[in-house]
Symmetry: C2
Subunit: 251 residues, 2 copies
């Protein structure tokens, strides 16, 4: 069984498109947030109870909607919702790219890395467009990667973060194995005043892809290649360890 | 100026204790969540406006309370709240350890790594206890590390994740530079029934420290050493890249 999650919510077009594609080959169950959870990162819900609602459409059971985050969905899916843990977790297809520094904010990527914490192989699939979203090819490529991962397995603790350029299939140049790049969102906040005369701020910002390293996911996607970055949940900067060991730190 | 954040909320005893300690040496301003944001990971708020409320106590301005996540607080603190960006971000003192796999869920650690995304050096300080919390020494050690980091700087994109054992000062054995360990929370969910007869689940779980590698943060903290793990926001598993390049992936 494949568990399918996302951060756009269980009604999103992206998850529905890949659901249909995966269902041609596998048993698939959606376990996804009831509401949009974009940019929720690896948040989990400790202080509220989680409600799990069966999704039945056209008299067919297709999964569960959860009033929580993508990571909550995966924790439930790997512990209490099923008799057997899933063989694979697929997260997406997300509306919008999840590469560069933005990957760390992504609920879509976090659902996949949460699965690896629970020992389940996982892939995250994102389409690099917020507007022109034809999920057809992204869903097909995601299903193909699901087959490959089920066959090859994945290194322990590693998930795949897959980003697909939003261009017609004929324009996609190939597939690149990449690292997380350094492109990031340059934040701005709209400052506004509410009807009771209190200031408030609304997050805005624009992604800036100024990456020139060919090994980076953002470079490859903006050059019309599919990027596949292996990700893990180890935040250690190993390079910095030797530097810190030289410091004189006492109690 | 130092900006002080946390995920337990601006009223928490941990942040107040280190505020007093830092204020002996530096100009410090609190920019912290209005409500507890534990386990919010690197979540940011896109779909709601953020309200920023001045905190004035005993006629003294001490900072801002934000109705958002720790990462939201840092984004506001580094862009719109001040004329100059802070020289250093300190996050904590958190009530409870943030080591092993748990670091990825931590709002406290995410506030520090968000600062590094914005180019500001940062440290996260956590006391490994949920019950017996005497924050005095943790606050003193955090202030000492703030001084060291302001003097030495930090490698680009690196923050320090500091965990302090909750034992009397005389029992602390030393300071270790560590990597993020593999200890994790073994989840359970309490299944309950609400007054309207709907099932719901409440997250529970217990941390299991079965790490035997001396280089790991969780090993050191459970052996009464302070652990300092350099962390970054690069999720790439570099080891897995070569393995994936051998795979036959076509369009």
């Amino acid at each position: 069984m494949i568990v399918l999650c996302n951060d756009d919510g269980f009604r999103a077009v992206g998850i529905r498109t890949i659901y249909k594609e995966l269902a041609k080959y596998f048993k698939v169950v959606i376990v996804a947030p009831e509401m949009e959870q974009s940019a929720m990162g690896h948040a989990i819900t400790l202080t509220q109870p989680l409600k799990v609602r069966k999704i039945v459409e056209d008299n067919e059971f297709i999964g569960y909607a959860v009033n929580g985050t993508p990571a909550d969905c995966i924790k439930l899916a790997t512990t209490v919702l099923f008799d057997q843990p899933p063989e694979l977790v697929v997260s997406g297809v997300n509306q919008g790219g999840n590469f560069g520094t933005c990957a760390i904010y992504s609920g879509t990527v976090s659902a996949a890395s949460e699965a690896t914490i629970e020992g389940i192989p996982a892939i995250a699939v994102s389409l690099n467009s917020f507007e022109n979203f034809n999920f057809g090819f992204a869903a097909e490529f995601g299903a193909k990667m699901a087959k490959i991962v089920l066959k090859n397995g994945l290194p322990d603790g590693v998930a795949l973060n897959i980003n697909i350029p939003a261009v017609p299939y004929s324009e996609i140049k190939g597939v690149s194995i990449t690292r997380q790049g350094k492109s990031r969102v340059i934040e701005t906040f709209d400052k506004r005043v509410d009807p009771r005369n209190n200031d408030y701020y609304w997050y805005a910002g624009e992604i800036r892809i100024d990456e020139v390293d060919e090994a980076a996911d953002c470079f490859q996607v903006s050059n019309k290649y599919i990027s596949i970055t292996p990700v893990h949940f180890d935040l250690t900067s190993y390079k910095a360890i030797d530097e810190l060991k030289k410091w004189d730190i006492t109690l």
